[in-house]
Amino acid sequence: MLCQLQFLTKNGIYDFWNWFDDRTWYPLGRVIGGTVYPGLTLTAGTLWWILNSLNIPLSVETVCVFTAPTFSALAAWATYLLTKEVKGTGAGLTAAALLAMVPSYISRSVAGSYDNEAVAIFALIFTFYLYIKTLNTGSLFYATLNALAYFYMVCSWGGYTFIINLIPMHALLCIVTGRYSPRLYIAYAPLVILGTLLAALVPVVGFNAVMTSEHFASFLVFLILNVVGLVYYIKGMLTPKMFKVAVTLVVSAGLIVCCAVVAVLVALVASSPTKGWSGRSLSLLDPTYASKYIPIIASVSEHQPPTWPSYFMDINVLAFLVPAGIIACFLPLTDASSFVILYLVTSVYFSGVMVRLMLVLAPAACIMSGIALSSAFGVFTRSIKFASIGKQDDAGDIGNGVTQNHVVKPDRNEEPPKEKASRKKKKEKENVEKAPTAAKKSERRLLMLPMEASVVAILLLVLLGAFYVVHCVWAAAEAYSAPSIVLTSQSHDGLHVFDDFREAYAWLSHNTDVDDKVASWWDYGYQTTAMANRTVIVDNNTWNNTHIATVGTAMSSPEKAAWEIFNSLDVKYVLVVFGGLVGYPSDDINKFLWMVRIGGGVFPHIKEPDYLRDGQYRIDNMATPTMLNCLMYKLSYYRFVETDGKGFDRVRRTEIGKKHFKLTHFEEVFTTHHWMVRIYKLKPPKNRLRGKTKKSKSKPTSTISKRSATQKKNPWQ
C-alpha cells in the first residue's frame, strides 16, 4: 500500500492507473489499477499534494500515518450530521462523542493504521447522511452529492455493496409501509443511476456494477419505485372511482410484466456458477457457506463469527444502550429513523456472521446509543429541572406552558422540514383560534419522573459513560496501540520484548540480493515487501487463490517436491514463523491446516486427512508421516531439539514427533533471537548432493543467543 502511494506521488495519477507492479505476486506481477480499491491511495496522495503545495514538506510516510486519524475525525463529524438528521442536535453530539472513542473503529483509525476501512467508514456514514438529508429535504443538490459520496465509497472499499443493498431495502420498506413520497424518489433514483455509472468507472468494479447480483436489488427496487411513482402520479390525476378501475386493469397487466422480468432475472442469475454472488457476500447470507467451501475466506481470523465477548470488547456498553435507541427510533417512526433502524439491524446481523463487520456495526451502535442516551438524559434532566416547579404550582400555567414545549419536542423531526414548517404555521393558527380552551390545556400533563429516581438514574448513566471511556482508553492502549510487528509479553520478571520480525526483515534486506524472491505464507507478504524491500510470491491482498494455493501446496509437500515448486517460482529464500520456543501462538504451524486446505482446494493430491491423526491435528509422535515429512514441519522444527534437548513445543504443549533430521534441499541461513522467524535458502541443484553427504556443518552451540550470533554471519561470504 505504501509502495502504491510512493509510486503515485512520484509518477502521477496516470502512471499509477496503468502501473504494472512486477515486485509483488512474483512471477505474475499485479495490475495495480485494476486490482486495488484506489480510494485510500488517492486520498493520501491528495493530502500529500495539498500539504506540499502549501509548502508543508511532509514525507509520504507521515501522511500515511496520519490519514486514518484525520478520517476518524471526519467520521465523527459525519455521525453527528447523520444523527442530527434523525433525532436532533443532542443525539447527534452524543453519537459523535461515542464514535470518537468506540474501540472497534479505533482499531482501524489509530495513527499508523493505513487501511481501506479507515476512510471507508467515513464514506459510508457520509453517504448515509446525504441519503437521509435528501430524503428529508427532497433536494437534488444533496442527491447529487450523495451519488458522489457513494462513488468515493466504491473507490475505497468492497463494503460498498452494503450501501447499494441497504438503501434499496430502505426504499422498498418505505414503499411497503406506505411511506412513498416524491422525496424518496429524488433520494433514490439519482443514487442508482449516477452511482452505478460512477461505480463502473472504478476499474476494480467495472462492469460488475451491472453484472453481479449484489447490485440487482438496487435495479429491481428502482423498477418498483418507478411503478409506484407512476401509480401515485395517476392517482393524483384521476377521480377516486376512475382510479379504482385503472388499478384493477393495470395491476393485472403489470403483474404479468413484473413476473416476466423477475423470471428473466432469476434465469440470468441462476445460469452463473456462483449464482452471481461473490464468495464473501454468500458467506454473509448463508453463514456456513465460507467455512464449507472457501478456505481462503474461512482461514482469516477476521472472517470468523464473533462470540459475545467480542461485542463487549468492540462496542462495550453501547451493546446495552442500543435496544433503547431502537425503541426511541420507533417512537415516532420517521423515514430517517426507519433508515437507522434498518442500518442497525442489518449490520448487527452481518457482524454476527463475520467479526470484521463489527466495524460497520460500530457507527450504527453509536448512533442508536446516542439517541438512547440523549432521550434518557432529556427525560431525567427535565424531571429534575421542573420537579420544584411542579410541586409549587401543580396545575399552574408556567408548568403547562413548559410542558407543552417539552412534550411537543420529540415530534420535531417526525416530518420533513417543509411539511414541518407548514404544520407549524397551521398549529399556530389553531392555537390562536383555540387559545381560550383552558380546560383542554390543563389536561396536558408534564411528563416527568420522580426527582430522586431521576438523580440516581443520571448518576448511573454517567457511571456507565465513564466506564465506556475507561474501557475505550484501555482497549486503545492495550490492544491497538502496540505495533503488531514488535511483540511484548508481561511475565513475573518484567516486560519481554520480542523484536524478531524486524530482526529477520533487516537481515533479509542486508544480506540478500535486491532481486531475490522470498516465499512465506501470505500473512507476511506486505511486511516483507515494505520492511525487507524484497519481492514476495504472495501477499495480504488475496485476489489470486491459485497462487496462494501453490505456496500452501509447497509448504505441505515433502522437501523435494516443495523445492521443485519453489524453484519453479524462482524463490531463493523461504521464511517461516515459529512460535514453539517462546510460546507465540499465531505461528505457521498453527496456520498450517489452512495452507493444506487452501492448497488442497486447487491441487487435489494434498488431502487434509493425511495430516490428521483420527481427525486431530498433532505434531507429536502420534502425528502422521505426511505431517512429519512436510516442509512446514521440517523448516519449523529443524534443530529445535538442540534448544532444550527434548524438543518441547510451548505452543502445542507437547514434545515434537520427529526430532533429529537433516534438510536435503534447503539450508538454514538465519534464525532470529527467539527463533520466531527462521529463514532458509534453497540449495542450488549442483550443491544438493554435497549437502546430503556433508557431515553436520558445525557443532551446535548450547544457547540460543550464541547460536543466533553465529548464524548472523552471512554464509555466502
Binding site: 442500543v322 435496544p323 429516581a453 466506564f467 484501555w474
Partner: protein, 349 residues
C-alpha cells in the same frame, strides 16, 4: 459427524450373529449366480427408488460378493441403524441424506452409462450377519466393494473420516479415487420440490392482487410498527448472543462436566475463542434487558400518573440494569482474562 456410535453398546451379541453361518452360506450356495441376471435385477431394484438407492439384505449382499472378480460393477454400501437415528451426537440421518445425494447425482450425471456402481443401504436390524461379516462396530460406516476383490475383508475399502468431512462432495471424491467411476458434480436437492414450488408460485400469483390491495389499504401485520420493533429487538438479541457462532461452529447449548461425578453441567466456557449456546443467550439477554428497561423508563413510566408506582418501577429498573451491567463486566473479565483498568497519571501512584 466426527463422533461415531458404537454399535456394540446397542445390540450385537456374539450369540446373535456368529460368523459361521455366513461363511457356510458362501461355501454351500450354488457358487456362480449369473452375474448378468444380478446386474439387471439391481437395475430393476434401483429404478424403484427415486434416489437410486437399493435396499440391501444379507442374501443379496452374499450374491453380490459371490460374483467372481473382476465384477461388472462396484458397490458402495451405507450401513444404517434406524434405532440410532435419534442420537443427536451422531448425525446419521444427515450422512444418509448426503449419501442419497451422491447416488442421485450419479444417476443424473450419467444417464446412459450408470451401471458401473450401485449404491446400497443396509439396515442393522434386518441384516445383522452382514454387519458382523464386515466387522462393522460403529456407524456412520460406508464401505466400497470394488471391481477387483480377491480377499473380501482386505479389498473392500472403508470410507474414512475424510469421506464424511464434507458430505456428498467428499464421498464423491472417495468414490472417484477408489472405484475409478466418474460421478460428476453433486446436485443438491432444493428444500421444496419443483412441483410444490410451481404450486406455491401459482398460489402466490393468484393471491398477489389481494395482497397489493391490502397493502394499499394499509392494515397488514407488516404495517404495524410494533411488529417491526419486536423483530428488530429479536434480531439484535440473537446477534449479540453470538447465535451465528453457535450455528456455524455447531457449539452445544451446554457441556456435561466429566470430572464431576454428580454430572453437573457447564454453562459457561472460559476462553474468548469459544462460547456455548446457553451462555450466549444468557449474556444476550443481559445485553438487551438494560436497553429495554431504559426505554421503558423514558417512554412508558413517564406517562404514569401515580408517583409511587413510578418510584417503584424506576427503582426496580435501575437495580436490574445495574446488576446486569455489572454481571456482564464480571463475566467478560472472567471469560477473557482481561482486567480493564483506568490509566492514572504516573505522579498519582
Amino acid at each position: 459427524m466426527k463422533t461415531s456410535i458404537k454399535l456394540s453398546r446397542m445390540a450385537i451379541s456374539p450369540i446373535h450373529a456368529p460368523l459361521l453361518p455366513i461363511t457356510l452360506l458362501f461355501l454351500l450356495s450354488p457358487i456362480i449366480t449369473h452375474s448378468n441376471d444380478l446386474h439387471s435385477e439391481l437395475i430393476h431394484l434401483r429404478s424403484k427408488s427415486l434416489l437410486g438407492l437399493i435396499h440391501l439384505k444379507d442374501n443379496l449382499l452374499q450374491r453380490i460378493l459371490s460374483i467372481p472378480s473382476p465384477k461388472p460393477f462396484s458397490s458402495l454400501i451405507f450401513f444404517d441403524a434406524r434405532q440410532l437415528h435419534a442420537k443427536s451426537e451422531n448425525s446419521i440421518p444427515s450422512v444418509k441424506y448426503e449419501f442419497s445425494l451422491l447416488s442421485s447425482s450419479y444417476l443424473t450425471n450419467n444417464p446412459g452409462n450408470n451401471t458401473h456402481i450401485f449404491f446400497f443401504i443396509i439396515e442393522f436390524e434386518e441384516s445383522k450377519s452382514s454387519f458382523e461379516f464386515f466387522d462393522v462396530k460403529s456407524i456412520p460406516h460406508v464401505r466400497l466393494v470394488p471391481v477387483r476383490v480377491d480377499d473380501v475383508k482386505k479389498d473392500c475399502v472403508r470410507m474414512g473420516a475424510s469421506g464424511f468431512s464434507m458430505g456428498a462432495v467428499s464421498m464423491k471424491e472417495f468414490v472417484e479415487t477408489n472405484a475409478n467411476v466418474y460421478v460428476g458434480p453433486i446436485h443438491t436437492r432444493p428444500v421444496i420440490p419443483k412441483k410444490m414450488m410451481m404450486v406455491i408460485g401459482a398460489g402466490f400469483l393468484i393471491w398477489s392482487p389481494y395482497l397489493v390491495k391490502r397493502f394499499v389499504i394499509g392494515n397488514t401485520i407488516l404495517q404495524d410498527k410494533y411488529v417491526w420493533m419486536s423483530g428488530s429487538i429479536l434480531v439484535y438479541f440473537f446477534s449479540v448472543a453470538g447465535t451465528m457462532f453457535t450455528i456455524i461452529r455447531k457449539a452445544p447449548l451446554f457441556l456435561m462436566d466429566r470430572n464431576d461425578p454428580a454430572g453437573k453441567s457447564i454453562m459457561f466456557y472460559q476462553g474468548a475463542g469459544m462460547q456455548l449456546g446457553a451462555e450466549g443467550f444468557a449474556v444476550g439477554f443481559l445485553y438487551t434487558i438494560v436497553g429495554l428497561l431504559l426505554a421503558f423508563m423514558t417512554h412508558v413510566s413517564v406517562r404514569l400518573k401515580n408517583k409511587g408506582t413510578q418510584n417503584l418501577l424506576m427503582a426496580l429498573g435501575l437495580f436490574v440494569s445495574f446488576w446486569a451491567v455489572q454481571k456482564v463486566i464480571y463475566l467478560n473479565n472472567w471469560k477473557t482474562g482481561y482486567g480493564i483498568h483506568p490509566y492514572w497519571p504516573s505522579r498519582w501512584k
